[in-house]
Symmetry: C2
Subunit: 322 residues, 2 copies
C-alpha cells in the first residue's frame, strides 16, 4: 500500500474505501504511529503556532493573559510558545528573531519596559507575521493592540478615592518608555481635573518597578510639605512595594494612606494588609481578545491586510477588605 493511500486514509479522504481506512487505522494504532506534525506544517508552510512574548512569568497578570490566549489558540488548533523577555530589550529582540526563524503564524507581545523602537515589529509584519500588542502598547497606531480601558480605570480609581475623602492623590507612573505609562498618567490627570482637583506635578513620580526606586519615590512623596494621602499606581506590584515601604517606614500612616493600582492579582487574597482596591483588568479576557484578533489577521485570506485596531477591554474596581 502506498504512502499516499495511507495519508489519505488517515485524513479520512472520501476517495478511500471504508475497508482500506479501517485497515490503515488499525495498523496505525498497533504500530503506535503518530504523524509528524512538523513535517505537516513544513509542507503547508504554516506552523499553527502563536508566539507569546511577555516580560515575566512571575507576574500573575501575564499568566492570566496567557491562559486566555491558550484557550482561544487551543480551540483553533493552534499551539502557543511562551517566551519571557525579563524586561530586557535585547533578549526580546532575540526572541522575536527566533519566532521568525521558526515561522510562527503570529505574535502577541507585552513589550519590555525599555522597548522604544518599532523596527522589529515592522520586520515581523513585513515577513507576513501579524503582531498584536498586549496591555503595553507602542505609541504607533499602525499596530493592533489590546489594552485596558485606562481612562475608565482612572475614573473608577479616582472616584473611589475621592469618595473616601482623599484629595491629595499621587500617581506612581510607569516607565516613560512605555506608551501605557503616559496613557495612564493622562487618564489620572483628566479624571482629577474633571472632578475639580487641580493636577499637581509634584505628586507624580516615575518608577521602574524596582523596589529601591519605589522606596526613593515614596520617601520623596512623604517628605512633601503637603504629602499625599492616597496613591494611584501603575500596577499592583508597585502597590505592594509601596505598602511595604509604609509598613516599614511610616507605620502610623498605614491606616490612612489608600492605595489603588492596576491589576487584581490572585496573590492579593493572601495578604493581611491589602491595597485598598485594584483595577481588575480582566487579563484573561485580554488574552482571549488578543488571540482572537491575531487569528483574525492570520486567517484573513484576502489580499488586503485588515486595518489595525485598538481594543479597550472594560475593567472594574475591586475593593479589598483587609
Amino acid at each position: 500500500m502506498s504512502v499516499s493511500t495511507v495519508s489519505k486514509a488517515l485524513n479520512d479522504n472520501p476517495s478511500i474505501s471504508t475497508l482500506t481506512k479501517e485497515r490503515v487505522v488499525k495498523l496505525a494504532n498497533e504500530w503506535n504511529y503518530i504523524p509528524n506534525e512538523a513535517a505537516r506544517h513544513f509542507k503547508q508552510s504554516k506552523s499553527f503556532t502563536l508566539g507569546l512574548v511577555i516580560p515575566d512569568l512571575l507576574d500573575q497578570f501575564y499568566v492570566l493573559a496567557i491562559n486566555g490566549v491558550e484557550a482561544v489558540a487551543g480551540d483553533n488548533k493552534y499551539q502557543v510558545i511562551v517566551a519571557q523577555s525579563h524586561e530586557d530589550t535585547e533578549k526580546e529582540a532575540q526572541i522575536i528573531q527566533n519566532l521568525i526563524s521558526n515561522r510562527v503564524d503570529g505574535v502577541i507581545i507585552a513589550i519590555s519596559k525599555n522597548t522604544k523602537t518599532t523596527a522589529l515589529f515592522q520586520r515581523l509584519e513585513q515577513t507576513g507575521i501579524p503582531v498584536v500588542f498586549l496591555s503595553r502598547s507602542l505609541n504607533d497606531p499602525g499596530f493592533d493592540s489590546v489594552v485596558t480601558d485606562n481612562k475608565h480605570a482612572a475614573e473608577l480609581a479616582i472616584d473611589y478615592l475621592i469618595k473616601k475623602q482623599h484629595r491629595r492623590i499621587a500617581h506612581l507612573m510607569g516607565p516613560k518608555a512605555l506608551g501605557t505609562s503616559h496613557l495612564r498618567h493622562e487618564a489620572y490627570r483628566m479624571a482629577l481635573e474633571k472632578r475639580g482637583i487641580s493636577y499637581d506635578p509634584s505628586l507624580v513620580k516615575e518608577i521602574d518597578f524596582s523596589v529601591t526606586q519605589t522606596d526613593e519615590v515614596m520617601e520623596a512623596l512623604f517628605a512633601l510639605p503637603d504629602p499625599p494621602t492616597a496613591l494611584f499606581t501603575f500596577k499592583s506590584y508597585v502597590s505592594l512595594d509601596a505598602l511595604r515601604f509604609i509598613k516599614e517606614n511610616y507605620p502610623q500612616k498605614l491606616q490612612q494612606v489608600a492605595i489603588v493600582g492596576f491589576g487584581n492579582l490572585p496573590l492579593i487574597q493572601y495578604l493581611d494588609h491589602k491595597p485598598s482596591a485594584s483595577i481588575d483588568e480582566n487579563s484573561f479576557d485580554m488574552g482571549i481578545a488578543a488571540a482572537t484578533l491575531l487569528l483574525k489577521h492570520i486567517e484573513n485570506e484576502s489580499d488586503q491586510p485588515l486595518p489595525a485596531s485598538t481594543l479597550h477591554i472594560p475593567c472594574k474596581l475591586i475593593v479589598h477588605h483587609s
Copy 2:
C-alpha cells in the same frame, strides 16, 4: 548562484571563497533573509525543542523551575515549549501526544496530582523521547527524576519545630496519587520517630490543594482532644490556606501555631503573617538539573540508553520573620 552555494556561504563552509561569502551575507541582510529553522530541523529530524509540562503557571515554584530549564536550554541552543496540565490527567495526555506529534527531543514533566499510569511515559521513551520527572515523581524507578531531598527537608522542618517546643506536629499530606506525597509523609514520620516523638496517624490528613478541603482538614485537626500546635505541609500554598483558615476561625491561635511547608515562594515576602518557615527547594536549580540530565540523554549517541537516575536536590530551611 545555486542554493547550495548560498547555504554553504551562510554556514561559513570553508569550501566557499571569502568573496562569495561576503556577497551572500550582504544580500541576505539586504533582503532580510532569515533561514527557516523548521525546515532545518525537519531535515535533521531533530527539533531542538524540549517540552516542559507543569500543572500551573500561577504556582511560583514551577515558574522558577521553568527559568532554570530555559537557562540550560538556551545555552545549548534548545527551545522550550511550556504547557500547563491544570492538574488534569486528560489534558496532560493530550499535551504529551502533542509533544510527540511535534517531535520534541525530550520532555520534562511535573505530573498532575491525579496521574497514576506510566503508559504515556513509556510511550514517550519508546518513541525515543527521553523523559525527566520534575519534583513530582512516579513510583517507577525506571524513569529519571529530579526531586527535592525530601528526607533532609523533613528533618530540617521537624528540627526547627521541635526547637520551638512543638511536639504535636501535624502533616498536611499531598494527594495519595502522587509518589511525592508518600515520600514526604514517610520522611515526616521518620524524622519524628528519630527524635523520639511517636507517630500519630490522627495528625496526618490528606489534602487535594483545594481551599475547601484544607479548611475541612484544619477544622478536624483543631477539633482533636489534643490538637496540633504545628503544621508540616506538602507545599507552601497549603501553608497559606491553612494560615488563612486560622486567621478566620481561630485567630487566638495565630501566634501559637507554627507552619512549615515545601517551597519558598517569592510571594511570601509580601505577607504580614508569614508561615513560620519554608523549605527552599531551590526550584531554579531543580530546573537546571532536570534540563541538564535531559540533555545528557538526548545527546547520548551510544546505542545503550543511559541508566535512569534520581537526583536529590539539596534544600534549606528559610525562617520567615513576620
